[in-house]
Symmetry: C2
Amino acid sequence: MTEARLIIADSEHDADMLYVAGIFVPDAFIAVEMNSEWHGLFSPLEVDRARKDSNFDHIHLDALFRLSAENAGRSGLAAVAAAFLEERKLKKIEVPPHFPFGYAEQLKSWGFEVRASEGAFFPERAVKTELEIRHLAYAEKLTRQSMMQAENYLAACSVGSDGILRDSQSGKKVKAADVRRAIETFLIGNGAMPAHTIVACGKEGADPHNVGSGFIRAHQPIIIDIFPRVLSTGYWGDMTRTYVKGKATPEVRKLYNTVREGQDIGLSMVQAGIDGSAVHQAITTHFDRQGYPTKMIRGRQTGFFHGTGHGVGLQIHEAPRISVKSDILKAGQVVTVEPGLYYPGLGGVRIEDMVVVRGGGCDNLTNHKRRLEID
Amino acid sequence: MTEARLIIADSEHDADMLYVAGIFVPDAFIAVEMNSEWHGLFSPLEVDRARKDSNFDHIHLDALFRLSAENAGRSGLAAVAAAFLEERKLKKIEVPPHFPFGYAEQLKSWGFEVRASEGAFFPERAVKTELEIRHLAYAEKLTRQSMMQAENYLAACSVGSDGILRDSQSGKKVKAADVRRAIETFLIGNGAMPAHTIVACGKEGADPHNVGSGFIRAHQPIIIDIFPRVLSTGYWGDMTRTYVKGKATPEVRKLYNTVREGQDIGLSMVQAGIDGSAVHQAITTHFDRQGYPTKMIRGRQTGFFHGTGHGVGLQIHEAPRISVKSDILKAGQVVTVEPGLYYPGLGGVRIEDMVVVRGGGCDNLTNHKRRLEID
């Protein structure tokens, strides 16, 4: 029996569906692959746009199958998919692992054999085409430009006698939200949607998941991590820098230089055929040797306790990973290299670039200088 | 045997998880309900924040269960959940309908009995608490204020001899993106994240799913639909107005007045106990009587071919619906009332307010004047 592949999802949040459809559709719809061709089932509201702009080989009006579903006493999107599949005598279906369990149960109750793909539904998504790399390069270019907005904003600030930065226009004390506004206003104005941009100063930066909310102070590390999605293409950028307004203390300077050396080790090792875990291990070893171990201190993790990097594409975090787990990098993958060190009291430092894995090396899409101090 | 309820999801995109957790967590994690208490399993990176800010009755470090899972030769989040449930001798689990099918299959293969909830996992989410209503009112207030940015922007524009608007600062021809920027810059600066704000002028507005990209012209209807999410709470606002820069034609004026009358009918009928389909039908009947039928013209839908409204909460579209389908409204629900009429050639008009359903009526959270013409 021929097997079909089925996705039921919107393409705003579901990267697999966007990969197939090539257009953003805000409500869930149906995509079916049979004989290596993709069929899209669309509502009357979307069908014209789908015919014009989508990647599907065949476009159908879902209302036709909705009618047969209702005649069979069934309703909902799974019923529409079932009507389409039954008309083609397809009873065996592969779905993505994140396919809704409720739909799978309905399809099974109607006699379909449903199984989730082993691993990724589109493993080929991890290796980018040159067109995808251009989309990612553009996303990263906007990201870099928004980082420069933050640099300019911080450069324009003065420092109060309390050590807190002052806005050059209003004279008000600067909080994380002010720096974030400078970054995100630029992104919004240029067709990219920011997502929880991190601006974390001092002790806030010691927790890599803290997006930051407090005052921005001189002489303390400020981690800025920007990861916007370009609205027209759906591809993401991802970039991190760490700055100090004014002079960095010797401790912070040493921390920064060690992370930068760690990133250099990563960037020099990333190439097609290397195991990501070897890259991660080399950075960890360097940190250990420089006196920055990764361990629990008073119930809190310190040191380098996240992965070195992750794939970027239609999802901000996707395959492959550069971490303790083995994962052989392939030419055309786009990954981040983002070592960091975090110590309560001292703060955090992270530096992140996005690169294309190539034979014998990698192309840096971020291509932005790493400087610690902003006068 | 006691039944547990299980969610595995992040709380950025999964509204059920956010409803339980009360904090945003970008990566998928585990929530289990047993004996009416919710347990959250968190990574070392998140556990401190979860202890401090989340709604869970009990917080656990997921690493402990990850260890037992690995000892059992299993990996992944479903394996961690299984280890937690097995320690408590729970083998029967209810999950949301959108629970990942791959995880459900793994749990079944390990001897768990897994079933999806009939209907919504949290039907109570449709009826808002007074605190939730305050969050929604705040979201709608920001939405209204951003609409006023658009009004002010359009008011400041001049009209070129070609009928295209000109930016009052730069003198450049105005495109949808310029109006969108005025709206979204305000939202970003005030802690709300816009999502595909619609600014659709003229023929673009005749397709309700077209977000708009072209020039903004005088004397043609401009649909502006704004639906941002407040980042601190996760609640959404939703509001639509239709404007004409300069004078509206008699045809557009009549279309506008008919939609406004339709909205008045809807707003006067919405109250606890009424069937949403009766509200929708009353508006449709009014449109028919005024000479605005809903039908296919040359393969294209025209008239009023979407629902009258939808619930708003931690999702932008959630229960209940005000549409052709029967759905009895309840006190405390927050719904939109957004009739529209669309005719190729003429363009589209939609007016949308967000209201709280109360006994005997509704409270309008949008509370913003409806005016067609902007000088």
